[in-house]
């Protein structure tokens, strides 16, 4: 095989390719499946008669192996270890798969995520690089602080869980961040909006967080979506003082409108209200006008 400078790469390869050149064309009459794909029935039964390949006596022959974890007659580790509630309520606890600031910066650098619009869970899922699964109790994204020193993008981020350092890193660059709760039905629409619209269901309204999450999402220090906006602004200033950076002026920012875009607590998509139905084929949106219907979708009841 010749490469760029005309040297033969290998004698073996050269011979193999010359062999192939001299062979007839591949056709149905000169190919067969690989040997390992065909199941070879065992025809030699000489060894099967007496011991069946199990050897002489003992547990191996009689199938009376000790159960896994058995340690002779000694009390095994799996019984003697004290009980500890490591997995308390594992089936019910919410999980937040991590996406780091480094990942996010990489997505922005490679133009996978559009920073001129708010970056939320849908933008992250639409890159196709992060998968979330409702059946595994994934209640959204956890923005972690790996790469917080390298982060240099001004974005309006909306995540489900984050830490103080991440909030500082984003606000230092002139962006804003909100923590926002979505219930599983809304998440199904957010993780895969195309599949959701294809079903033809009305856009669901987002429910309030459960009791144990309500405090987190009402706390201005976490930039919760249910928190008082005035207190959020105070918290921004306090955090800037704590971490020692100058808080960029949001008032005079040309992207102020985009950075202050927030969804209604019942709303899951920007620009689309709960209760509307999207028609992908005709590229239209249906808005029912019935009173009962609207009362359901515009209230928390």
């Amino acid at each position: 095989m010749l490469n760029g400078d005309g040297n033969m790469s290998s004698k073996v390869t050269e011979r193999a390719l010359n062999l192939i050149k001299s062979m007839p064309r591949v056709a149905l009459n000169n190919i067969k499946p690989l040997p390992h794909t065909a199941f070879k029935k065992k025809t030699d039964r000489r060894g099967d008669r007496k011991k069946k390949g199990r050897g002489d006596k003992g547990q191996g022959a009689r199938g009376t192996w000790d159960p896994l974890g058995y340690e002779g007659r000694q009390n095994p580790l799996i019984d003697t270890s004290p009980r500890e509630r490591y997995y308390a309520q594992y089936a019910v606890r919410r999980q937040y798969p991590p996406v780091s600031l480094l990942d996010l910066q990489r997505l922005i650098d490679l133009n996978r995520v559009n920073t001129s619009r708010p970056v939320d869970i849908t933008s992250i899922c639409n890159t196709g690089l992060f998968k979330f699964d409702i059946s595994k109790n994934h209640f959204g994204v956890n923005l972690t602080d790996e790469g917080c020193d390298q982060f240099a993008a001004k974005i309006n981020a909306e995540v489900q869980w984050t830490s103080e350092l991440v909030i500082a890193a984003i606000e230092k660059n002139g962006g804003t961040i909100t923590t926002r709760y979505y219930d599983p039905q809304s998440l199904a629409a957010l993780y895969d909006p195309l599949a959701f619209f294809k079903k033809g269901h009305p856009i669901p309204k987002c429910k309030l967080p459960p009791q144990d999450a309500l405090l987190y999402y009402s706390d201005p220090n976490n930039r919760g979506y249910l928190a008082d906006p005035e207190k959020v602004l105070e918290a921004r200033e306090k955090l800037a003082q704590k971490y020692g950076y100058k808080l960029p002026d949001l008032e005079g920012d040309p992207f102020k409108e985009m950075l202050l875009m927030r969804k209604d607590p019942l709303q899951i998509f920007f620009g689309l209200e709960p209760g509307w139905i999207v028609n992908l084929r005709d590229k239209s949106v249906l808005k029912p006008k019935d009173d009962d219907y609207l009362r359901y979708y515009h209230s928390a009841q």
């Binding site: 790469s9 650098d109 849908t122 390298q150 039905q185 998509f269 689309l272 808005k287 359901y296």
Partner: protein, 213 residues
């Protein structure tokens, strides 16, 4: 949408009930509410009843039961508005089917540390390693667990040019940096990849980046 001709309607049954029109089917899907909870009922085209798979999530405060109901003309919503202006918000949410193209940046490396391949240095080499569709090096590590032990490999894919020259360079670099006496490699000329035994992913990637790949 075929379903939404002038004759198809949205339906309310029992109070609060969103009716879900399935855009791909001709028959509407009905949802009913009972004790302020939502029961979803999905009526298929062949009249079989099944519960929508979407709502089989246990945390949700809705209960699911399938009940067969007939369409009642009086219960249908006839009043709805069709809007084309708001569809632009839908387009903003939908994913793009292909990987977007890169934009030219003023400064490399970018904040996350990315930089494009250096074509000047690449031209001086006897081989070329193409970047993946996500614009990164095709260097991967994996472990193989067998009954005779565990092996760690680093595989370099998408190699063009003199693969044996690359193998020689890699071998020399790994021996020099790690100080080990030997390194095992597997060269696959037809598949255009090399596997190097050991946990040397960072070393090999750094070596290739220095070569401009």
């Amino acid at each position: 949408m075929a379903a939404l001709s002038g004759t198809t309607f949205l339906r309310i049954y029992h109070r609060v009930l969103p009716v879900f029109i399935n855009a791909t089917r001709s028959k509407p899907v009905i949802a009913t509410s009972k004790y302020k909870k939502c029961i979803l009922h999905h009526k298929l085209a062949n009249d079989k009843v099944s519960v929508c798979g979407l709502l089989s999530v246990r945390q949700h405060s809705t209960s699911f039961s399938a009940s067969q109901d007939e369409l009642d003309q009086n219960d249908l919503i006839k009043d709805f508005e069709v809007s084309h202006e708001e569809f632009k918000y839908v387009e903003q949410i939908l994913p793009s089917p292909t990987v977007p193209e890169l934009e030219e940046q003023t400064q490399y490396p970018t904040p996350s540390g990315w930089f494009p391949p250096d074509e000047a240095t690449q031209a001086q080499q006897k081989y070329l390693i193409r970047r993946t569709k996500n614009h990164m090096l095709p260097v991967y590590s994996h472990t193989q667990n067998t009954w005779f032990g565990t092996s760690h490999f680093v595989s370099i894919k998408k190699i063009e040019g003199d693969i044996w020259a690359l193998e020689a360079d890699l071998r020399e670099h790994v021996l020099k940096t790690t100080g080990q006496k030997s390194v095992n490699t597997h060269v696959h000329e037809v598949g255009r990849f090399i596997r190097v035994r050991g946990q040397h992913r960072d070393l090999i990637a750094k070596f290739l980046l220095e070569k401009g790949m």
